[in-house]
């Protein structure tokens, strides 16, 4: 009985220590902020439904295609997708210069997600400035797959 009690107490203390430690670690290291773009591969996005309207305005003025990126904080494949695929220098270059980028948080912008038939992250929807869907890319694709698409969509919109 004594040993069990002791073991239980040790375990309880360990659990509390773990809970406290991971909590504070997350708060100090992994708070996601808009300023650093830490959760979107370091790329600047317009945010949420408001960002989408704003995006359409800019897209129409500058005749740029829109790329909508659906992500979620708990989506571990998004994290890799952001750094590897969106963060790929060639892809990133085209996206930042020739696109209007809008990010949708699946947890918050559920209505938009439903409207565009997006049910899981990561998910990209490419549109022309009028909002016609040109291309959909579901899942964490590799940069080699995304690069021709971002090029084609850009050419299509420019050609119009």
């Amino acid at each position: 009985m004594k040993t069990k009690k002791m073991v239980s107490i040790i375990v309880l203390v360990l659990i509390l220590a773990f809970a406290y430690f991971s909590y504070t670690t997350a708060l100090s290291n992994f708070t996601l902020s808009d300023k650093t773009n830490s959760y979107l591969g370091g790329i600047k996005f317009h945010r949420a439904a408001a960002g989408l309207e704003e995006g359409f305005q800019i897209a129409q003025q500058e005749n740029k295609p829109i790329m909508m990126y659906f992500w979620a904080i708990w989506c571990q494949y998004c994290a890799g997708f952001q750094t590897k695929t969106l963060g790929n220098p060639e892809v990133k270059n085209i996206l930042e210069n020739d696109y209007v980028l809008v990010a949708m948080d699946l947890d918050i912008d559920r209505e938009v997600a439903q409207q565009y038939g997006v049910s899981y992250p990561p998910y990209l929807v490419f549109m022309d400035p009028k909002g016609n869907i040109l291309e959909r890319v579901p899942g964490a694709v590799e940069p080699g797959y995304l690069l021709p698409i971002v090029t084609q969509v850009r050419e299509k919109v420019r050609g119009k």
């Binding site: 040993t3 360990l14 290291n29 992994f30 049910s119 959909r136 579901p138 899942g139 590799e142 797959y145």
Partner: protein, 780 residues
């Protein structure tokens, strides 16, 4: 409006209350008539719920879109099986399924015991209370709500835009991700698991309350059943993620899959506690019932995670309104369990026992249970505190630089400890204890040494991942442990299991022998699952194939790293029965051309040939389409050459001309339809669910390593990828994701995933072993 379905639920509610009163008043006199009613009332209630479920299924099969739930999760063109599985595609239906299974369990309990013992009667009372609570939840979020009761539809009716008897012509359709075999079986397994957790919980509460004897047999048998169903539900969810999401992995620490995994862990702890508690009532007299209660509470928690907006995940297939009531139920059950547990603890007389030291079976079992609790807590905390922070501080936080890292680093050391405990416990022998301790210490030593091995990139955390550098020091420290350190403990556990199996095989009487074999098989399962997980997550090779042009069909295309891919065939089909294509059969036109020339004609078919020519100031595209009865040219002018390819199915509407001589192509067309790009629609010949399949062969160094079909499902409710998975006997999968045809080429990603089949094999062992254990009724 109360629909037939809802009235069935209300009737069950009334019956349950009658049965409940009957059970509560059992000891009082003068209510024999009421007593006689109890068992039939419960069985009838279960029957009514079953009819409600059948009724719902009937609505789905017949496409009764007057019901909102049917409208949301079904559509006319779905194959029958998906119309049936649509009943459990959303929350209202799963509530009904959940409550139905609870009542079936209650009916079984009533039928087999007739409430003759105090334990049975009291267990039934708690089961019924749970059932009633869930019926109320089901009624709040009822699957039998009519579409005209939707607020926006009510508004539209009020504005006169819709009639009061509005029924949509077709449903919204099932999410493309759910159109899949594994999704047919995943929710029922899960919810049967959830529901059958009720009886072990009820029995445990009764035991805590009254020390009623015999609870552990009742609870244990049901707990095994729950363990099987919940476990298989989780596993099938993993298979689905692997085969459908195209993530190339089966476990992603997604909040919902994690949430279901937590009660499964504590339930595993309970089964271990109950094994000793059964032999000696004093052992784990509090731990065992508390673990059963905690498992039930965690099931409720999992239900909240699925249903509340706080924890979003791939499971977010619907909205919620019952989250608060679930939270209330968690609070109630937690407080009750805690208070009862505390009371029992304080009542327990301090046993004056001889101190047998730390190294005895009970203590090691206790440590094992604690390890399950710790693992459960790690998972619980990892999904909970980010939601808590978001709720209280409005901040979004990650648990680690990469979410999975958090779960992996913290779970890893405890998994090793669990394997060590397994090795020590399963083969425990009081007489050989000293010797066994020595072996254990050697293994622990080996584990510590192997932790320090520097092994390429075979560490707890992937050092090549961009997230690695951003992890805090402690996470890096654990992440730096070599995964080789898992092997001494794994071999030790395997060896112990083999030893134990040999012991069991020597047992003369059949029943304990079968049961022993079952126990050994389950523990082999653990080893296989860990092996498969570790190998597949560390050694998966991913090759970005890029796009292979469809034109290279039949040729091997070098994709680097010594791999080649050959496209054998490409085809499209509709999931539903093919609806007749719009327009006129081409053969009809050729029979009586005069009827169609100089008239508007609509035809549908597949493009078999096309020419793009420049006809300044624009471009003209000539497409030869074939509908199976004949072929015909269609031409259209546009600013840009049309982006078409052979194989594309189109419907074109335009003006038919005869003997048209084209200057640009130099051809004279007997019959041709002139149309505009707007009047051409793609794939209008098929229904809402279109499947593109590409048949492939994969080669490594010129020898074929895999072949099969990768598919892409497109629908108005989203799209899904169904990768090619070709397994080999060595446990390695060739895995090819196809992202849907794009501009005439086939985008592919190739993954070589080793060891993953060990995990599937381990899961089969789990199921097989527990079924053997369940098959043998042991007498206490």
């Amino acid at each position: 409006m109360i629909t037939i379905g809802d009235s069935l639920l209300y009737a069950t509610l009334v019956l349950s209350v009658i049965a409940l009163i009957g059970l509560l008043l059992k000891d009082k006199k003068n209510n024999e008539n009421l007593n006689k009613l109890v068992t039939p009332a419960i069985i009838l209630g279960a029957g009514l719920l079953a009819s409600a479920y059948i009724l719902l299924t009937y609505y789905f099969v017949t496409g009764n879109f007057a019901y909102d739930y049917v409208y949301q999760y079904s559509s006319r063109d779905l194959p029958l099986i998906y119309k049936i599985s649509g009943t459990w595609a959303g929350q209202p239906g799963t509530y009904l399924l959940w409550v139905l299974v609870i009542y079936l369990s209650a009916a079984w309990l009533a039928w087999t015991t007739k409430h003759s013992t105090g334990l049975a009667r009291k267990t039934q009372i708690i089961t019924l209370l749970t059932g009633i609570y869930l019926i109320i939840l089901t009624l709040i979020q009822t699957p039998f709500r009519l579409i005209i009761e939707r607020p926006e539809v009510v508004d539209m009716i009020a504005r006169g835009e819709l009639t009061a008897g509005f029924v949509p012509a077709d449903g919204n359709g099932l999410n493309a991700l759910l159109v899949n075999f594994w999704m047919i079986v995943h929710p029922p397994l899960m919810f049967i698991g959830y529901a059958t957790m009720t009886i072990p919980f009820a029995a445990a509460i009764v035991y805590l309350l009254t020390k009623e004897d015999g609870w552990e047999e009742l609870g244990r048998q049901w707990a095994r059943f729950t363990w099987l169903f919940l476990g298989m539900g989780i596993a099938v969810g993993g298979v689905w993620a692997y085969l459908v999401l195209g993530w190339g992995g089966f476990w992603a620490w997604d909040p919902v899959e994690t949430a279901s995994f937590i009660p499964w862990l504590t339930l595993t702890g309970f089964l271990h506690a109950a094994a000793l508690h059964r032999k000696d009532k004093k052992t784990f007299s509090i731990a065992a019932p508390i673990l059963a209660a905690v498992s039930f509470i965690l099931v409720l928690y999992a239900a909240i995670v699925v249903r509340s907006g706080l924890f979003n995940s791939v499971h977010a297939f619907g909205d919620t309104s019952t989250g608060t009531l679930l939270i209330v139920s968690i609070l109630i059950t937690s407080i009750v369990s805690l208070v009862l547990g505390m009371r029992r603890y304080l009542e327990e007389p301090d046993k004056v026992e001889e101190d047998r030291g730390f190294w005895n079976k009970t203590n090691i079992f206790y440590v094992t249970m604690l390890l399950f609790v710790i693992l459960a807590f790690i998972s619980f905390w990892g999904i909970t505190f980010p939601a808590f922070i978001q709720l209280t501080q409005g901040l979004k936080v990650g648990v680690a630089s990469d979410t999975k890292n958090f779960f992996n680093i913290w779970s890893y050391p405890f998994t090793i400890l669990l394997l060590l405990a397994l090795g020590f416990c399963l083969n425990y022998n009081e007489k050989k204890k000293e010797e066994q301790k020595k072996t254990l210490f050697i293994i622990i030593g080996l584990t510590i040494i192997t932790m320090l091995f520097r092994t390429g990139n075979f560490y707890v955390l992937d050092h090549s991942s961009p997230f690695w550098v951003r992890e805090p020091p402690l996470y890096k420290l654990i992440g730096n442990i070599s995964v080789v350190s898992l092997f001494p403990a794994m071999i030790y556990a395997t060896w112990a299991t083999i030893q134990r199996l040999l012991d069991y095989l020597r047992i003369k009487s059949l029943r304990p022998r079968i049961k022993g074999i079952g126990i050994a098989i389950v523990h082999f399962g653990v080893v296989f699952i860990l092996l498969g997980t570790v190998i597949s997550s560390n050694f998966t090779q991913s090759i970005d194939v890029g796009s292979i042009p469809l034109a290279s069909k039949g040729e091997k295309v070098d994709i680097g790293n010594g791999y080649d891919i050959k496209i054998i065939n490409f085809s499209t089909r509709s999931l539903a029965e093919a609806a007749p294509a719009p327009g006129i059969r081409i053969s009809e036109i050729y029979k009586n051309p005069a009827d169609y020339i100089n008239n508007d004609v609509k035809v549908s078919g597949r493009i078999v040939d096309f020419v793009n020519v420049q006809t300044p100031p624009s471009n003209t595209t000539y497409m030869k389409i074939d509908d199976g009865t004949g072929n015909l040219w269609v031409a259209t002018q546009a600013q840009e050459p049309l982006n078409v390819q052979n194989g594309l199915e189109i419907t074109a509407n335009g003006f038919m001309m005869s003997n048209f001589k084209s200057n640009s192509t130099g051809t004279t067309y007997d019959l041709i339809i002139f149309t505009t790009p707007d009047a051409i629609t793609e794939a209008a010949t098929s229904g809402n669910y279109n499947v593109q399949s590409v048949q492939l062969e994969v080669y490594k160094d010129n020898s074929m390593i895999g072949s099969g079909t990768a598919e892409y499902l497109d629908s108005k409710t989203g799209s899904g990828t169904f990768p090619l998975v070709d397994s080999s006997i060595t446990g390695t999968d060739v895995y090819v994701i196809f992202q849907g045809l794009s501009g005439g080429s086939v985008p592919l990603t190739l993954k070589i995933i080793p060891g993953v089949n060990f995990a599937w094999f381990g899961i089969v062992l789990f199921a097989f072993g527990i079924i053997l254990i369940m098959a043998v009724r042991s007498k206490s």
